[in-house]
Amino acid sequence: MKRHLSAVLVAAIAIGLLLAGATACGGSDSSSPSPAASLDTTTPVTLTIWHPWTVKSEKEGFATAIAGFEEKYPWITLKIVTFPNSDEFDQTLIKNINAGTAPDVAISFGPDYVGKYAADGLWEDLTPMMNADNFDMSVFAPGALTYTSYQGKQVALPVLTDAYGLYYNKTMFAKAGLTEPPKTMSELMDDAKKLTVRNADGDIDVAGFVPLNAFNELGPSDLAKAWGAKWFDADNQPQIATDPGWAAALTWQKELVDWYGAEAITKFNAAWVDKEWTPDQVFETGHVAMIWDGEWRTKMIENDKADIDYATAPFPAADDHPELYGAGRVGGTICGIPRGTEHPQEAWLLVQYMSTDTDFLVALANMLGNVPTTKESAASPDLVMPDQMQTFIDVWNNQYSEFQPPLQAIGATYADFLNGYDDKWVVGKGGDLQTGLEKVDEDIANELAMGQAP
């Protein structure tokens, strides 16, 4: 039955490739290597690929970019399916994998489910095929491993990525006499206070920096990262109450919220939060001096012709962790091979192409404004991007950058226990911090335990 491509079969193919194709090109140049000698290049093969780029411009952009693949491997035809809803993409994919009707290759916008794909064998482990083609993960930044591999199984590869950092308004900085962006959390707090402007009635007109959970893209774990805080210890048990970085981050956060006044900052948040994806966005309209955001904002500012003079920098690190400055959250679109495909070798070629082919990555990056993931694509002269994007490429390449929240077999919803507590904590309804964090640990641990087979 085509339901399982068992490990044995994959190993057999790998061995076959190794024996027959020992001279297959290595991955030393980052464009896709030529196929192994044993691969049948005459029988036409159709690969089905699902992706969630539904808007006409993005759909067509992808189709144009991927045309190079069919040119390179002429016996392969691509059947491209645009899945109508990215929120339900992974759920539906899992349903189809169970029923045996999954595509050969899938592209997902987010790696939240990679843990499950790996743990339950829903996506193929690419390691044997990578070894056969001498494909190395070092072509990507070390951060890639944090969201494409789980428990030793490399089930996905990145297709461009997101990276997060600090955006700041240079005009406001100049007016306040600040020349440099903040590099430590203390500086961030001081600058935020200096740059805040209030109305006559006490409402916040311009906020220096809004530390609230879910204000645009920020989360408490992003703040905690400045202290190098880790979610889980070596035994995969949550350590939010014991790793001091978390308490430090949440204390910092509450201090700033209290300075604004919980009510005032909540009202400010309410006014701006639903405008994140419109040209009325809070930073673009000059109502916040500094904001944590992803690299795509540079493209949006360009498209919206926002009237601001801005720059980007890595997000500050904690005062006592200067070595962490330059790191940030990374991770984004991934591709992989659902189990049960009838053409694993061709699927592997496609996955390789989409993650490493320079022309493809550059075309896609120009269209979407995401961070190119390979050194060659980042250095390509065809890459068109605002100068401010360089920060994010640097963040991507930083050794301490990683994906948040860490991959787990039960998905990513456990992080919401912390977010839910954080929402209460900042407005003063969280009680004692240590007790609250211990409860969060308890809930996460229980969630992990409930998610495990007995």
Binding site: N85, E88, A99, T278, D280, L368
Partner: protein
């Protein structure tokens, strides 16, 4: 005097209901930049948004699929639910209330959970047994509608129970059985209710998003209009102006059908006035 007050209230309530739709219409005429910002009146008025919508999605194909889905499932619902509701209202038999409770019980479990096993059946087991492909077609959505649905059965039962016994007895005296009673008395007198059920079901199917997503997500040519609305959602931006325009286009057939269906309500009034 009372008439004027009545009209005033009606106009006020209508405004409350209609203003948000006017906002949708205004947004549909904005440029992408202005949509969802604090601006309320478009400046300029981009009438071409509607043309763009037609160009960006294959409206004819989607509309046809949606008409098929909504139309066939509505027919299936009426055809199957009327006799079942009759059995629960105008036939006396032991255990009637218990079985009715069983019918209601099918509404009490969340549909997303009960459809999980059904997906595998449609996707793998049935094709294995019959050789017919179900995923990527409207079949898994249409076929179950011909086997009754608890909401419609319940609603029809309530109306069937209000029909006076004398009228049904009259048919019995003439030598007619249940089938004749159903045809000659119950159905004609229940036109408002049957129309209501048909209307609800049609509109529900027209707007249904989850069912088509699960079964048609991978087959663009079979998709319905509700899925087409997602076509304006980019990775980091949404074309709200086009989405709103598409939403209005999406709603128009249903509004027209509703407007016309009201005639049947009126007919029902005249017939109801005759009885008793």
């Amino acid at each position: 005097m009372l008439a004027i007050a009545n009209h005033a209230v009606l106009i006020a309530v209508s405004l409350m209901f209609v203003l948000p739709i006017i906002w949708i219409a205004l947004t549909s005429l904005m440029t992408e930049d202005q949509a969802m910002t604090t601006k309320v009146i478009p400046d300029p008025f981009v009438w071409s948004n509607y043309v763009t919508v037609f160009q960006e999605i294959d409206l004819l194909q989607y509309t046809w699929n949606t008409v098929l889905y909504a139309g066939l499932t509505t027919i299936g619902t009426i055809v199957s639910c009327v006799p079942v509701a009759y059995a629960f209202s105008r036939m006396q038999w032991k255990g009637r209330n218990i079985v009715f409770l069983l019918v209601l019980s099918t509404l009490m479990l969340p549909v997303q959970i009960t459809t999980v096993p059904m997906f595998v059946v449609w996707a793998r087991d049935l094709p294995d047994w019959t050789g017919i492909q179900f995923i990527g077609t409207l079949k898994p959505l249409i076929i179950p509608s011909f086997f009754g649905d608890a909401f419609s059965i319940f609603l029809l039962r309530q109306f069937f129970m209000t029909i006076p016994d004398e009228l049904c007895d009259a048919v019995r005296v003439d030598g007619g059985g249940h089938w004749q009673i159903l045809r000659r008395v119950v159905v004609p007198l229940s036109k408002p209710a049957i129309m209501a059920v048909a209307l609800f079901h049609f509109i529900w199917a027209w707007n249904d998003f989850y069912g088509p997503l699960v079964y048609l997500g991978q087959s663009p040519q079979a998709q319905t209009l509700s899925l087409a609305l997602s076509n304006f959602r980019g990775m980091h931006h949404v074309q709200w102006n086009l989405t709103m325009a598409a939403t209005l286009i999406f709603m128009i057939p249903v509004v027209v059908i509703f407007f016309l269906a009201q005639r049947v309500f009126i007919e029902g009034v005249t017939l109801t006035g005759v009885k008793g």
